[in-house]
Symmetry: D2
Subunit: 154 residues, 4 copies
Amino acid sequence: MTRAPELSVAEWFNIDEPLTLEQLLGRPVLIHAFQMLCPGCVAHAIPQTQKVQATFAKTDLQVIGLHTVFEHHEAMMPTALKAFLHEYRIGFPVGVDAPTAHGGVPETMAAYEMRGTPTTILIDRKGNIAANMFGQIDDLALGAMLQGILDAAE
Amino acid sequence: MTRAPELSVAEWFNIDEPLTLEQLLGRPVLIHAFQMLCPGCVAHAIPQTQKVQATFAKTDLQVIGLHTVFEHHEAMMPTALKAFLHEYRIGFPVGVDAPTAHGGVPETMAAYEMRGTPTTILIDRKGNIAANMFGQIDDLALGAMLQGILDAAE
Amino acid sequence: MTRAPELSVAEWFNIDEPLTLEQLLGRPVLIHAFQMLCPGCVAHAIPQTQKVQATFAKTDLQVIGLHTVFEHHEAMMPTALKAFLHEYRIGFPVGVDAPTAHGGVPETMAAYEMRGTPTTILIDRKGNIAANMFGQIDDLALGAMLQGILDAAE
Amino acid sequence: MTRAPELSVAEWFNIDEPLTLEQLLGRPVLIHAFQMLCPGCVAHAIPQTQKVQATFAKTDLQVIGLHTVFEHHEAMMPTALKAFLHEYRIGFPVGVDAPTAHGGVPETMAAYEMRGTPTTILIDRKGNIAANMFGQIDDLALGAMLQGILDAAE
């Protein structure tokens, strides 16, 4: 198992205090990496993450959105993201992945070696990466994976 | 927990030897009760059960279809069911729920107190009913429930 | 243009008097040929025809269903079709395409040289075949074709 | 019939020369008014307009997109729209509806008394408004309406 690298976030939406994976140790975590102008994220992955949030609301799963902008930076600034989160009624915590000085792939996206958006990352109670999946994931399989990390021992 | 009543099946399709819950003790079981002329079964529940079969193929989950005819009996005889299973490419074992002398609700459907079709029943490794659900179930929730009974001890 | 062959129907559902294309001359007609155990008909073509019926209710378009059984005959007898029409709430007139002595493709299906089900046939006000389409048709294109034959002169 | 007010556009994408309704007189026109952060536009209306563009490519129908920003102005500037058009592969001409000095509803949106986004406007060959529809429109009905204005005399 690979240890999940800590998040590197420039700004948070929907929460008052920053979240860290270190704090969350002992709980399973789903990180949903997206871009607001990524069609596959908007059509499938974001609604799926919203459904995960609702379906597992009574468990100790923590859902985190991560805005991993690696293209069209000027079109997806935090101001635009804020309007997007409002229009799409996204209520889970969303962090802006910290940009690097040279532009391109932001810090957390690089640390997890993500191949693009959407990417769904599952972290188990021990803080290890249980899954790192690029693209569209079937609900039935995702439900099973999430229950699997919920059932696993700390 | 309620003990899962044994299946009462008049005829099987897609398998050579009859299946019994007694044989399957120790393994989780999903029973999908349907009627071939039930629109909700055809549109949602049957494709979902086919996806369960594919998604959990490497586990010891046993998927069973149960044709619980309680109306339009003359239109849903085993001959028609056989054509239906062929056209819809249904590959999991399907039993014809045993009709009663007076017509109406067949025997297994009555034993499980099913309210109609589709009904999805989950049986855990101990042979108890873990869920008995009428109507459409979300894939994400079903995936989680199935993983839950897969993870539970015998 | 090819003259639309007359319908050869063994039995009608949802109407009291038989329909003939000769009677309907001067009005545009949509014939929806289906089988009750054809998955593509049930999932797409039948709901589309129901939507055509509702969308063009105020025009003089006549929608006709035609049950063109060419396989699994014993599973799709008129008794089964009657239950099917009830369960799927199909309200437009449906004729049972007249079987031939040797089984196989029924009479109207043969006369129109249909390749399978679903098939959608459009007949213009002059009684000519305006379109004879096998498989799934896009709603936008079908809407345009129907308006085209509605707008055309008698 | 109401005469269609001329477009008031600050900037065009996907064409070299500005389009005017005056130039287009004699041809039917579909104006699709949207905002890039409007969920109903992204999920339904924009894909529908792309399908209109493809389905009616061989006719003289002119499809025009109009970015009618009336909220979250700072998140939907022309730079962001350009990235959006690229990511969603929108190939038809898109005009930025001219903002007013006081913000709020832009000029063309006001002239057509649009109630929000998405709005679909059909203009006939004579330059009159044939339809002004707010919200989601069924493909079958839209196909019929478009064929209706295509068939109508100049």
